[in-house]
Amino acid sequence: MIFHPLILALFTASLLTGFMVVYAAVFGAQILRRWDLRSGSEIQLGLERKTYLVSTLLSYAFAAELLSLALFVFTADRIHGFFAGAMCAAGTLKADAFGYPALLLKATNAVLAGLWLIVNAADNKGFDYPLVRTKYAGLLAASPLILAEIALQTLYFLKLDPDIITSCCSTLFSQGGSSLGSELASLPIAPMRILFFASVVGSAALGLAFVRTGRGAGLLGVSSAATLAVSLLAMVSFISIYIYELPTHHCPFCVLQAGYHFIGYPIYASLFGGAIAGMGAGILSPFRKIPSLSAVIPGMQRKLAWTAAACFLVLAAIVIAAMAASHLTLPD
């Protein structure tokens, strides 16, 4: 099992990311302790030279972190055939105790990695390292989560046993059960539908409003985070059943399979892309007052807001298209 090419790829990516994060975190601690741009000391000049290298390498590590979320889910889906009872990634992830916690941490860390990349991009545009402390403080805060994710992912794959009979997604995400998946599947469809479209369209509108007026980035950030949470709930609650054309099938993973034209990938990509871009626009707002960034941050925020709006509109369009094409008819 462990020698499956996809699992080896994930291990390798995790090892490299873990090494880079630990190295960068140690360097970040030095930055927080010793950084003083007014000083011309050898230590300070060494830190200035090194921070560019470290943050560049870390950018690649965090970009890999974003991709590894997709690869992790793809892998979980591809290896479901090894486990009796598993029909998709839902069953594979349930095959031992570490699958879902690993997925949850990977999703969280993907968002954090995206936000760090945005802050780093802003810092690189300032001539005086304006966000160097902020981004390394963020890294230090995120590094335990990333290391925990690597540990959980490793444990998950190591503990996988093909002899174990796992649950299929119909059981995990069935209405009426007591598990978290069942509770999500039992969420009322009509209110969730309204909440989903209101949050997605609302966030897109906030993004477009920011592009036009340059105001409301903070609100866009909060709204994008809320849209991410609501959309994930909506995926289980009602989007899935329209795609499967089955009112009892709430699985958020089967949509990643060929039988459903891999529609889950564009859905999740547009959702996470929009959420990260929208939150990124919000997170940059406090830095607009920094003199060396005041000229560049508004432009970055406009691009991010535009990206968020575009992603959310694409998400809404995919879901509407899936609902329109579905033969499922739900009672009012």
């Binding site: 011309g40 050898e42 000049l45 200035e48 030279r49 560019y52 001539f127």
Partner: protein, 226 residues
């Protein structure tokens, strides 16, 4: 004004071949003046010019050029400063063989994105100024030493820099050409540019256009004259 605040440069630090090319150095080089760094070979002249011209970073200390601190700048900002602020004239000319004099001169301006016709017009003005218009379409390997030197100066000026830096510019020139070179530098100074020359040639540091001479030896400034 160019200001060095305890700038120091060590090569191969922490290795057996560690060498301090420039010990802690603080000095002020006034704008719109012609300044010469005078010292024997291996005294640290080129290192000092490299630090000021953003071609190397100091091991410690800070350098301010025209009011801006440059040692902390990330590389992408230094590139723009090198391109816009400094014009470099090297001892070995460093012209690119196979290209014409005109192509060599406009080469540093390519990354600015200006139209080639604009660059060629500007270069033509420089060729005329240095009386080498007839050679503009000639390959640089066909030029005499004096002509190559003037092409090098034209190349240094193509981006209209505020500071002209010359490293041992007369090392390969005879006395007549050296005199012409210094006269040209004098004209550039009169136009309001800061001229900084490293040399151990008396034809340079004794030239009447030179306003200040710093003496450097063993990586330390050990005096000044004028």
């Amino acid at each position: 004004m160019i200001a060095l605040d305890r700038a120091r440069k060590v090569f191969g630090q922490g290795r057996p071949n560690e060498f301090t090319a420039l010990h802690e150095t603080s000095l002020l080089i006034e704008a719109d003046r012609m300044t010469v760094i005078r010292g024997p070979s291996g005294s640290g002249k080129t290192t000092l010019l490299s630090l000021i011209g953003c071609m190397a970073r100091p091991t410690s200390g800070r350098i301010h050029v025209l009011g801006r601190e440059i040692t902390s700048l990330p590389e992408r900002f230094l590139t723009e400063i090198r391109r816009r602020t400094f014009g470099f004239i090297f001892q070995q000319f460093h012209l690119i063989p196979g290209l014409t004099a005109l192509e060599n001169v406009i080469l540093p301006a390519y990354p600015t994105g200006e139209r080639r016709s604009v660059l060629e017009k500007r270069a033509a003005g420089l060729f005329e100024l240095f009386d080498i218009t007839a050679k503009s379409r000639s390959r640089v390997e066909w030029l005499s030493g004096g002509e190559a030197q003037r092409v090098t100066i034209a190349r240094a000026l193509i981006n209209d820099p505020a500071v002209v830096i010359a490293d041992e510019p007369t090392a390969h020139l005879d006395s007549k050409l050296s005199g012409e070179f210094m006269a040209t530098m004098g004209r550039l100074r009169d136009e309001g540019r800061t001229v900084l020359i490293a040399s151990h040639d008396p034809l340079v540091y004794d030239h009447p256009s030179v306003e200040r001479v710093f003496h450097i030896r063993d990586g330390r400034i050990d005096g000044e004259s004028r």
